[in-house]
């Protein structure tokens, strides 16, 4: 009787591997490829015939002419092969140091902005290290700088940001956000490149 139980268990494991591990998975891959290949493959963005990134994966923008994303805790920042958070505890001095450094940077790059106007997402690192979004407040804060460097009217850049704010899904789920890569691509188009 005992041996019979072991054989039943082995057969159950094998059946599960075939049906659930392989069958179900390959079916899902097939449906994904067939119905929504763009999304199933990572929402990659094609720009002038070149794959320049994924809509869903943040990139580091450090030039003042572009909108900047959130601080990233991966090494190096925005390492899409190894997602990670800082894991700094709320009372960790390293967290305070990180925020102070980032805040000083934001204030230096955006003259005229007061510390009390800086939203936390611009100085605190994201959970995945790959957050493609910033809050609308963090985008609007960068408008004067981006307009100046690109020689565009502030009102035009502001309108550009406004048109890229994604509200809550169905007005309910999640929080309003701005996709940084898409915003920067739109900015390039506005500049005429």
């Amino acid at each position: 009787m005992r041996v019979k139980v072991i054989w039943s268990a082995v057969r159950m494991v094998l059946l599960a591997v075939v049906v659930l591990g392989l069958g179900y998975n390959l079916l899902m891959v097939g449906i994904g490829e067939g119905l929504m290949p763009g999304r199933a493959n990572g929402s990659l963005i094609n720009h002038h015939g070149q794959v320049i990134g994924s809509k869903l994966i943040g990139q580091q923008f450090s030039s003042p002419r572009f909108f900047e994303g959130r601080p990233s805790a991966t090494t190096p920042p925005y390492n899409a092969a190894s997602s990670a958070a800082s894991n700094y505890g709320p009372t960790n001095p390293a967290l305070l140091k990180e925020i102070r450094t980032n805040l000083a940077q934001v204030l230096k790059e955006n003259p005229g902005v007061k510390a009390s106007q800086v939203p936390p997402d611009l100085v605190e690192s994201s959970a995945s290290g790959l957050d493609p979004d910033i809050s609308p407040a963090a985008a609007y804060l960068q408008v004067p700088r981006v307009a100046r460097v690109n020689h565009l009217p502030v009102s035009e850049v502001r309108a550009l940001v406004a048109s890229h704010v994604s509200g809550r899904f169905l007005g309910l789920y999640g929080a309003a956000h701005v996709n940084v890569l898409e915003l920067n691509l739109a900015l390039l188009k506005a500049v005429g490149q």
Binding site: I6, G42, G53, S82, I134, G174
Partner: protein, 562 residues
């Protein structure tokens, strides 16, 4: 305000599911659902069993243990041999023995504790092997819960069902169809599902080159949540856009992890022939869950004091360290509370960077024994243990032999229930004590002081409750943490399941005593209150000293207690 409506939508969806999925699951386990009979019957033939082969509780438990042991062994083998097996586009080498042991046990016990970063450690084949366990283990948990419910509903019976049949039915009729639909919705929203390797991109705008990890993620995501597993494909879990792309998927994932544990209370009520009894158990779960969600959301909506000190006075979006913009603070808290209270353990934000009281909310949610609503199956059978403790205490108060659902609760039943309830706290506290007293254990935490202690306590609590939620600061991938973690998880799973099945057998053998005027009604608020009391007293008294040394000290050290 939007958060309020998010909660309203979630509650409404769960309420509908409770009624209809709950009733459907009862039909599945009573053998009244046959729409996949063409697939079901050959499976029974291959397994050499069938719905008529009823098992005693000992046979049932034996099949469960042997099946789990074979599963651990098979998973361990695949992880060790992944370097020489197909579906390995990144050419990743073998997983080390200690890590393979921890990971195999972790997925077979429905814990999904991960001492590794998925995208940098495991081949696609290894991930798919883990998905197999993500399907099977919730089915095993639900099977045990159903066996206990049969114990309560049957009269003078020697058997409690058939393990293989219960698991097969659960997989075919419940888990597979829901996960399939949910997986498609996730891909539609942007979750990745591909067997192509990582994508390499170059962006001339900023000179950035990225290697973007991809894989068969969406199908794992669906069952990871539905099966209260929690182990994600990517290191940052459901915080990444590839697992959880939008605010909508965030709510969908929360719904998926809550739906089966809550709905099983309806299944329970239906199978014992009294929906009011099911509703009473649901009330216990919902009251505890609601309290914890409110508390933790409030804590996370507050500014982090460290941020206030840096001069950022205006923080409309709360504590954002380790959170994603598209979710925001409160929805991040909701996800993590739901995930810690269902023994799921997936995260959409960094638990380590939550405020001290936010972390307290998640940690204590697990310490209550995963009953609000708990994991698939494990939530129901654990809360029924507490219900038996509650009627026992009620019986002591009035000096009458306690009954639950017409079954006399005698010495054997109380001993088994007490054993099932106390095994977890004992394992967690002893192993935490061991970890802090050994150099190998103290070397783990990334943060110092009370937060470092919380990281150790959190890790061992999480594994002992088969949760898998990580306060990720702890470096758990050491021989020490891998080995004790594996032991912790095995105790948390099987040292509770076996007493539960023994209880099922003992109860099934009893006759039903007719209700009288002196019977303590278990479908009334008094019973709900008594059960909540039993849960809070067991969890609170056993863990309060340990929690005091972690998050409570940390909160008080700010000189501010909200």
């Amino acid at each position: 305000m939007a958060y309020f409506w998010t909660i309203v939508v979630l509650v409404a969806a769960l309420a509908v599911a409770w009624r209809f999925l709950g009733s459907y699951m009862a039909a599945v386990f009573d053998g009244r659902v046959h729409w996949l009979g063409w697939l079901e019957r050959p499976l029974y033939r291959a397994l050499g069993t069938g719905p008529d082969h009823e098992q005693t509780w000992k046979r049932y438990a034996g099949a469960l243990l042997v099946f789990s042991a074979v599963s651990v062994f098979a998973t361990y083998l695949v992880l060790r041999l992944q370097g020489s097996l197909p579906l390995n586009p990144q050419h990743l080498g073998a997983v080390s023995p200690a890590l393979a042991w921890n990971t195999a046990v972790s997925f077979v016990t429905n814990t999904n504790w991960q001492n590794y970063g998925g995208e940098t450690t495991l081949s696609y084949l290894s991930q798919m092997t883990l998905v197999v366990q993500q399907f099977v283990t919730p089915a095993v948990g639900i099977a045990v819960a159903i066996a206990l419910v049969r114990g309560l509903s049957r009269r003078s019976s020697q058997t409690v069902g058939n393990f293989w049949v219960d698991v097969t039915r659960c997989l075919l009729y419940i888990l597979l169809p829901i996960a399939f639909v949910a997986g498609l919705v996730l891909v539609g929203q942007g979750a990745v599902q591909t067997l192509a390797g990582p994508a390499t991109i170059h962006d001339p705008l900023n000179g950035v080159t990225q290697v973007i990890a991809r894989g068969p993620i969406a199908f794992m995501e669906a069952i990871k949540q539905l099966g209260t597993n929690g182990g994600g494909f990517l290191n940052a879990n459901a915080a990444t856009t590839f697992e959880n792309p939008t605010g909508f998927t965030n709510l969908l994932l929360i719904f998926l992890l809550l739906v089966i544990p809550f709905s099983l209370t309806y299944t329970f009520g239906k199978m014992i022939g009294s929906r009011r009894q099911g509703a009473a158990v649901l009330a216990v779960m919902a009251i505890i869950f609601g309290t914890w969600v409110g508390f933790t959301s409030y804590a996370e909506h507050q500014a982090n004091p460290a941020v206030a000190a840096a001069g950022l006075a205006h923080q409309p979006t709360g504590n954002m360290e380790g959170k994603e913009v598209r979710f925001g603070d409160t929805s991040s808290a909701l996800f993590n509370v739901a995930s810690t209270q269902t023994s799921t353990g997936s995260v959409n934000s960094s638990a380590d960077s939550f405020t001290p009281m936010g972390g307290f909310g998640m940690l204590t949610g697990m310490m209550l024994g995963e009953v609000s609503p708990g994991g698939d199956g494990s939530g129901l059978y654990t809360i029924l243990l507490f219900a038996i403790i509650a009627v026992f205490i009620g019986g002591l108060m009035i000096g009458r032999t306690p009954e639950y659902l017409g079954k006399k609760i005698q010495a054997r039943e109380v001993k088994l229930a007490g054993l099932g309830v106390l095994v977890m706290p004992i394992a967690v506290l002893v192993l935490t004590g061991l970890a802090v007293s050994l150099q190998a254990g103290r070397a783990g935490p990334a943060n110092v002081g009370p937060h470092g202690f919380t990281e150790i306590l959190y890790a061992i609590t999480s594994q002992g409750n088969n949760n898998g939620s990580a306060f990720a600061g702890l470096n758990g991938n050491t021989a020490f943490y891998n080995v004790i973690g594996g032991i912790d998880m095995l105790i948390g799973r099987f040292a509770i399941m076996v007493p539960v099945l023994a209880l099922a057998g003992a109860l099934a053998a009893k006759a039903v005593v007719p209700e009288s005027l002196g019977t303590f009604r278990t479908d009334k608020p008094m019973f709900v209150g008594l059960t909540i009391g039993a849960i809070l007293i067991v969890g609170g008294l056993t863990f309060f000293p340990a929690v005091s040394l972690g998050p409570i000290v940390e909160q008080l050290s700010h000189g501010r207690f909200f």
